[in-house]
């Protein structure tokens, strides 16, 4: 890799960087080789942000597959409760119980474990680490014009703490008592009393340990992202010239830094309740007919601490996707992003509001209805910056010379998903309507579309768009488009019907519905959802194959800037080495969105202003 970086191919970018760039004397020292000298320091314990980004991405993909397969198993249970699941026994072992007639059924406690693990894995490992971890690492140094993160070493630790968290969680799947099964929110008392359910013992201990390491990973990463954005921007890169991706990652990191420590506090009190007999969350509990001596605790306290993280967490998931989509839409519609400043202010507004809406997850937990009013109002106000963003994305597309490739299709799909899921958020944000809708499939449909599928769409848009920067090759476009249409139609087919289930009062997290008179009529709909989920999963396999095939066999990148984009990452060599730019650091002369200005299709950020040209945005 390092050798290709110094190949003497002189391009216009090189000349511009050489003429106007900032000489930091980086390459006069041989420190770079010190940590990319052999296989282990290059690919495993790498301190290079580009490699760490790939590590986050591929680990995230591994977890996405595990999490998705789990959902297929519990969807089989929900869609086909009478079917014989004995064929799953080689994988799931004793969790498939086989009766005298040879019928295999999913053990109810394992159903709950699957639901819990699906949520935990997708929310934390895939959509936090896999999304923000990947693209913050890849793009922050490249797009602000830095050699690497502020602390490459802490950045490496960030990945390895995530890896450790993953190993612990993975091992917990194989416990004889099963992984934790009390829901991804880990509410006490199920999470606080080891005897409460089979997964509440060792499974919960490993769950909490894993997540504490995960938080360490997020914080180490976040500290780096914030410091890099604020301190290591290259010459000329003012905050108002940052691409929206960087704004999004920056605010995401701030949200993580302020909210994840609160989760740790909540977990710590939970650990004391579990192991040392305190009563922070436990009060007057009978279990198995036995009265426990815990007195004076408040389970609501845990919910406050959890959701103080939990709500910002959904923006930690969606903001990076929004940033990626803004960039991809602008580049591929060959137009400046509409309302750049409004986009930045909306990101900031969403970030701020995300801290004062957490109790909307607790409307039905016995929170004072008067206090609920405030949370309803702030929750609904989030619709304003969200709507500004949606309007600006559509306005960016409007009249654009749009290239419909896999990246831009997924970005457009993101906007569709965000609108569909966002609208149902307005229903759920009202505490009065929430009385009817809470804990139903309406909620499941809402959050899967707005932060699950939408975030995945943003991530796919990012992967298809920046794959050439990661591997110097393109992903296959035809397979990419097939992947897009299959995922778009499939995801709507899975989650759209759930709105109807929810409005009819079908509760979430139930093991089966056919035994309830009121919900038996929905068996066909449940079957449809299950089949749609399996088909959608199959389409994701196209992506996985395309991804790994393209790493080695994809079409080679022959020019540095295949999309004609303005941002700095496309001024690096096709295979950027350690330090990203072989010579000087590029100096930034303009904002990132000069598309179609003065009759030019695009003007890279490193190009100086022409005589009389004004920086208009």
């Amino acid at each position: 890799m390092a050798n290709t970086a110094i190949k003497p191919v002189v391009t216009e970018e090189d000349l511009l960087i050489e003429e106007y760039g900032y000489d930091d004397h980086f390459h006069e020292h041989h420190h770079g080789d010190k940590y990319q000298s052999n296989f282990i320091t290059t690919y495993i314990f790498s301190q290079d942000h580009k490699i760490i980004a790939k590590q986050f991405l591929i680990t995230g993909m591994f977890w996405a597959l595990i999490g998705a397969l789990m959902s297929l198993v519990f969807r089989l249970q929900l869609g086909f409760p009478e079917e014989n699941l004995a064929w799953l026994r080689p994988v799931l072992g004793k969790w498939i119980t086989i009766n005298d007639a040879g019928m295999g059924t999913l053990a109810p406690e394992f159903y709950y474990a699957l639901v819990t693990m699906h949520g935990t894995i997708l929310v934390f490992f895939v959509l936090t680490a896999g999304l923000s971890g990947t693209f913050s690492n890849l793009l922050i140094p490249l797009q602000v014009g830095a050699r690497d993160m502020a602390s490459p070493f802490l950045n490496m630790l960030s990945y390895w703490f995530f890896f450790l968290a993953g190993v612990i969680m993975f091992l917990s799947l194989f416990l004889s008592t099963g992984p934790f099964a009390g829901g991804w929110t880990a509410y006490p008392p199920l999470s606080a009393l080891p005897q409460a359910s089979s997964g509440s013992g060792a499974g919960m201990t490993m769950w909490i340990l894993s997540l504490v390491f995960f938080v360490v990973s997020v914080l180490l990463g976040g500290i780096n992202y914030i410091t890099t954005v604020l301190n290591l921007r290259t010459k000329g890169m003012s905050m108002w010239r940052l691409p929206l991706t960087i704004w999004a990652f920056f605010v995401t990191a701030i949200l993580g830094l302020l909210s994840f420590p609160v989760l740790v506090s909540g977990f710590l009190l939970l650990m004391f309740d579990r192991s040392l007999g305190t009563s922070f969350y436990l009060s007057e509990i009978f279990i198995g007919g036995q009265a426990l001596d815990h007195v004076g605790g408040s389970p609501i306290l845990y919910q406050h601490l959890f959701w103080f993280l939990g709500h910002p967490e959904v923006y930690i998931i969606i903001l990076p996707a929004m940033g990626l989509v803004s960039e991809v839409l602008s580049v591929h519609s060959r137009k400046p992003i509409f309302g750049y400043r409004a986009m930045v202010y909306s990101i900031l507004a969403i970030g701020f509001l995300s801290f004062i809406v957490w109790a909307h997850h607790m409307f039905m937990s016995g929170v004072n209805p008067f206090i609920s009013n405030f949370f309803v109002v702030f929750t609904l106000i989030i619709a304003v910056p969200s709507a500004v963003k949606v309007f600006n994305w559509i306005a960016t597309l409007y009249g654009g010379n749009i290239r419909f490739n896999a990246a831009s299709l997924f970005a457009i799909g993101f906007v569709s998903m965000f609108i569909s899921g966002g609208l149902t958020g307005i229903f759920l944000g009202n505490s009065a309507i929430d009385i009817q809708l809470h804990d139903t499939y309406f909620v499941v449909a809402h959050f899967h579309i707005v932060m699950g599928v939408a975030a995945f769409f943003g991530m796919f848009a990012g992967i298809y768009n920046w794959f050439p920067k990661m591997y110097g090759r393109f992903m296959n476009e035809t397979l990419g488009k097939l992947h897009f249409w299959g995922t778009l139609i499939g995801a709507y087919a899975v989650f759209w019907p759930m709105h109807y289930l929810g409005m009819a009062g079908v509760p979430r997290r139930y093991y089966r519905f056919d035994s309830f008179e009121a919900f038996g009529q929905f068996s066909a709909m449940n079957q449809f959802i299950t089949i749609a989920a399996i088909v959608t999963f199959a389409f994701q396999m196209i992506f996985v194959v395309n991804f790994f095939y393209s790493i080695w066999k994809g079409k080679k990148m022959t020019v540095r800037n295949p999309w004609g984009a303005n941002t700095l990452e496309w001024t690096t060599p096709i295979h950027p080495g350690h330090g990203n730019w072989p010579g000087k650091l590029p100096a930034v002369q303009r904002w990132a969105y000069d598309y179609g200005k003065d009759g030019k299709e695009f003007i890279p950020q490193i190009k100086p202003m022409d005589e009389g040209e004004t920086e208009a945005h």
Binding site: F153, I223, V262, S265, L268, G277, F280, G296, L301, L305
Partner: protein, 192 residues
């Protein structure tokens, strides 16, 4: 590596590592803010055992404040080139820091002696857990101080940018955990 960062990003007003430490302190502060809000929320819910915080926690506050002063004077002596004051004050800081931990432990024993055990009532449990987590952060600071002591006694006294930076990082963190204790004591005093 520090030297490289120094050169590469010399245009910055603040060194990236110092800035990163401030950001990290912000994260730690959020953790304790969560604890103190938890006390307020929990106290409002009733069944709250009232007791008076043992005096030892107040005496200990003086110890930790003195340690901040001694570390700061050690830092100033380091910059001025006053080797004996630099080394002596650094050692004193370490002793005061260790004394703080020992006295906190005494405080917990005092609490137990007046019948407030870890599991008696959440009001007492909070004191143990929160001051315990704070003590863990002091221990981290003692680790940094040990490294500083090694440097002070094993290396010749030279004011290089790298050593100045390292000292300033240690100093900032130590002042921070000191401030953190004042913050916690404020809540402990107001709410108990």
């Amino acid at each position: 590596m520090e030297a490289v960062v120094e050169r590469a990003y010399g245009r910055n007003k603040i060194h990236p590592q110092k800035f990163a430490l401030w950001v990290a302190c912000g994260g730690i502060l959020m953790m304790f803010a969560a604890f103190t809000s938890a006390i307020i929320v929990r106290q409002a819910a009733g069944n709250w055992l009232e007791f008076r915080l043992p005096d030892i926690f107040y005496y200990n506050t003086i110890v930790i404040l003195l340690s901040s002063i001694s570390l700061h004077s050690s830092y100033l002596a380091f910059r001025r080139g006053n080797t004996s004051l630099y080394r002596g004050m650094l050692a004193l800081t370490f002793v005061l820091g260790a004394a703080f931990i020992a006295l906190q432990y005494q405080g917990w024993q005092k609490l137990t002696a007046i019948g407030i055990e870890l599991t008696t009532n959440p009001s007492g449990s909070f004191i143990y857990v929160i001051s315990g987590v704070h003590a863990a952060h002091i221990l981290g600071g003692l680790g940094a101080l040990s490294l500083a002591l090694l440097h002070a006694y094993l290396l010749p006294h030279k004011v290089t940018p790298a050593r100045k930076l390292r000292f300033e990082l240690t100093l900032t963190y130590w002042h921070f955990v000191d401030f953190l204790w004042l913050y916690l004591l404020f809540f402990f005093t107001m709410l108990y």
